[in-house]
Amino acid sequence: MKTLKILHMYADMLDLYGDGGNMEIMKYRCEKRGIGCQVDRYSVGSEMPDFSAYDLIYIGGGADLEQQHISADLMKCREGIVRAYEQGTFLFLICGGYQLMGKYYRDADGNDIPGLGLFDYYTVAPSSRKLRCIGNIVVRAEIGGKKVDVVGFENHGGQTKDVKTPFGKVLCGNGNCAKSSHEGYFEKNVIATYLHGPCLAKNPEVADYMISYCVNRGSDEPVKLAELDDSLEKQCRQVMLGRLLKK
């Protein structure tokens, strides 16, 4: 079977709340099925990669300071990322990675950090750093035709507005803005979300959706992924759903 090629961008700077764990989970779920999974890294100062050569590009979240540091570098990658996305490379974006793909991010002091402008949404941080959306969150998403209650942890100041195609409906927690009805951004080859935890830990369906997309990309005969024993993950999610949704 083919080897998945993943580009993990700014792993050394954007890695909050276990975001790096998502790559560990992608590798784990590929390897259990005998699918190769190669994760390359790109960061400030690295040689410019051929973005289109990757099946998936992953960017995690970071503190404001780190986001400022990378934004100029990210702009240099704009053309390459846009082309890859248009050619079907999957974009998996968490928190800061999510925000930076929009039009701009306005920080708490009112400074605009330009985004790549790949999507129409934009993000504004409230002027008080104390106002943050923090806590466990449940998002009902439709993944591969199935409803999945995705469980994670959100912690963001930024309020993301003008999202046309959200990742899912908020069942518990805040979402794109404080107390909003929807969370994240979704296209068939984009999952952008505020969910940390890491996002994939309790939600193997999300990981498998991306693996399946990458494996079957450009193929006429889609293959079905082998089932894995996810009993620990399922019980883990069940415990949290029971606690968060019973109110």
Binding site: D12, G20, G21, D64, L65, G135, F153, N155, G197, E233
Partner: protein
């Protein structure tokens, strides 16, 4: 007005005592409200204050510094119970002040929560601030770590007292530049030890120069992002250490600082850093070297910090790990030990733990050596099980027992050496469960077990 507040505070303390309640925090909370959030401004403190802050090691260092002065015959006040927020410090001072709010002592030694340093010491004059380290810890309570460092940094901008900083932690050392006029900035530093690495071993933060954004260069990493670093662009990290720990040998264990050789009881690199901070304070205040030596060489920890228990004939070592750094350290100690062992990991997500448990993904479990079985427990027993599974550990060897007594019984059901890691709110219930098991099935719970 201030006298009235003190009177009210004293009455509350008395009432709580009459009700046989611990007056640790409540009087401070009430005064915080009636004083419009300036709970400690009503006290008059004429003696020097030493404050200790940082993510890890506050309690150890505070207790050791207190011993330095106690053994020198000084009358000190210390927040031993770890009530380290402004309200806790207010409660402490209420118990020790007269009706005019005067606090009588030779020295105040206060463990202070990182986020409360500016609020407390804008109201009380600080003689010395010791900053140990900044790691990811309870991020969702404090907002992002950067915000926290910024807060302390703004305080340091106008602070002219002694600032004792961990020179091997870029997050901490940067505070030394906050006030260029302060001539009392002192760095402590430790030379490379046997398990130091060339590459970073555990996930961490702060790998970029906070002043110019350049990647920091490291000669070596002791653990996490602690090590000899330098920014080649702006020179951040170039400083003359006030005190240096050298000749570190954790097998013995032994290290040398300021020309004196110490033989501590605890054999971790953590402890070397903590004790070097203690030695720095001793040097600054001219403590008799014999006293410093007796404090550093006798210091040991209880309360779930490398505490030993016997479960029948099976030895179990419990360690608190409230963040990845603590957990990684425990895993290192466990790995460096020969023979097979089993691990119990107890993970809670109560408010004091910081609700979010994603920090467990920054623990490097792939280093497991000769770990034959893992039991998980706590309110997030499944989260830690999934985490360990995804590091490549065989799921068949993972047993999930959310109930603590079940988990301890499971752990003790097989022979051999045991390790127990528990996070902040899990550590006391875990101790209790280990003691219950020992009481019921034989064994003992003591530091000497």
């Amino acid at each position: 007005m201030k006298r009235l507040q003190i009177l009210i505070g004293k009455i509350i303390v008395k009432l709580l005592r009459l009700m046989h309640r611990n007056a640790g925090n409540l009087p401070g909370i009430i005064l915080w409200h009636i004083s419009r959030h300036k709970a400690v401004s009503m006290f008059k403190v004429d003696c020097p204050i030493i404050a200790i802050t940082g993510t890890n090691g506050k309690t150890s260092v505070t207790n050791c510094i207190a011993q330095l002065f106690e053994k020198s015959g000084k009358n000190i006040i210390i927040n031993r119970e770890g009530n380290n927020l402004d309200t806790g410090i207010c409660s402490l001072l209420l118990r020790h002040c007269d009706m005019k709010g005067r606090v009588k002592a030779d020295l105040l030694i206060l463990e202070t929560d990182e986020s409360h340093v500016p609020v407390v010491y804008s109201q009380l004059k600080l003689d010395t601030l010791v900053v140990l380290d900044f790691f990811r810890d309870q991020l969702d309570r404090n907002g992002e770590m950067e915000t926290l460092i910024q807060k302390i940094n703004s305080f340091c901008k106008t602070f002219e007292g002694n600032l004792i900083l961990n020179g091997d932690d870029p997050n901490t050392a940067r505070l030394g530049r906050a006030n260029p006029k302060n001539r009392n900035v002192k760095y402590f530093h430790a030379e490379k030890y046997a398990f130091a690495t060339d590459k970073i071993f555990e996930a961490s933060e702060g790998r970029f120069c906070p002043f110019c954004g350049e990647a920091l260069e490291y000669d070596y990493y002791q653990y996490s992002h602690i090590g000899k670093f330098r920014c080649n662009k702006c020179g951040f990290g170039d400083y003359e250490p006030y005190i240096t720990a050298s000749g570190i040998d954790l097998e013995k264990p032994v290290f040398t600082a300021d020309g004196h050789t110490y033989s501590p009881k605890l054999n971790s690199i953590y402890n070397v850093y903590n004790m070097t901070a203690v030695a720095a304070v001793a040097k600054l205040y001219g403590i008799d070297h014999k006293i410093t030596d007796s404090v550093i060489s006798r210091y040991t920890v209880k309360n779930g910090r490398m505490e030993n228990f016997m479960l029948c004939d099976r030895k179990a070592t419990l360690n608190l790990a409230k963040n990845p750094v603590g957990a990684n350290m425990t895993l290192r100690v466990m790995n460096e030990m020969k023979g097979e062992k089993e691990l119990l990991f107890v993970l809670n997500d109560n408010v004091a733990d910081g609700l979010d448990v994603s920090w467990i993904w920054d623990i490097n479990f792939s280093v497991f050596e000769r770990v034959t079985r893992v039991v998980t427990s706590g309110t997030r027993a499944y989260d830690i099980a999934v985490r360990i599974k995804c590091s490549g550990y065989a799921p068949a060897n993972i047993v999930v027992k959310p109930d603590l007594d079940d988990a301890v019984a499971e752990l003790a059901s097989t022979p051999g050496r045991k390790f127990v890691i528990a996070n902040y709110t899990a550590v006391q219930p875990t101790r209790a469960a280990l003691k219950r098991y020992a009481a019921k099935h034989g064994g003992e719970s003591s530091e000497n077990a």
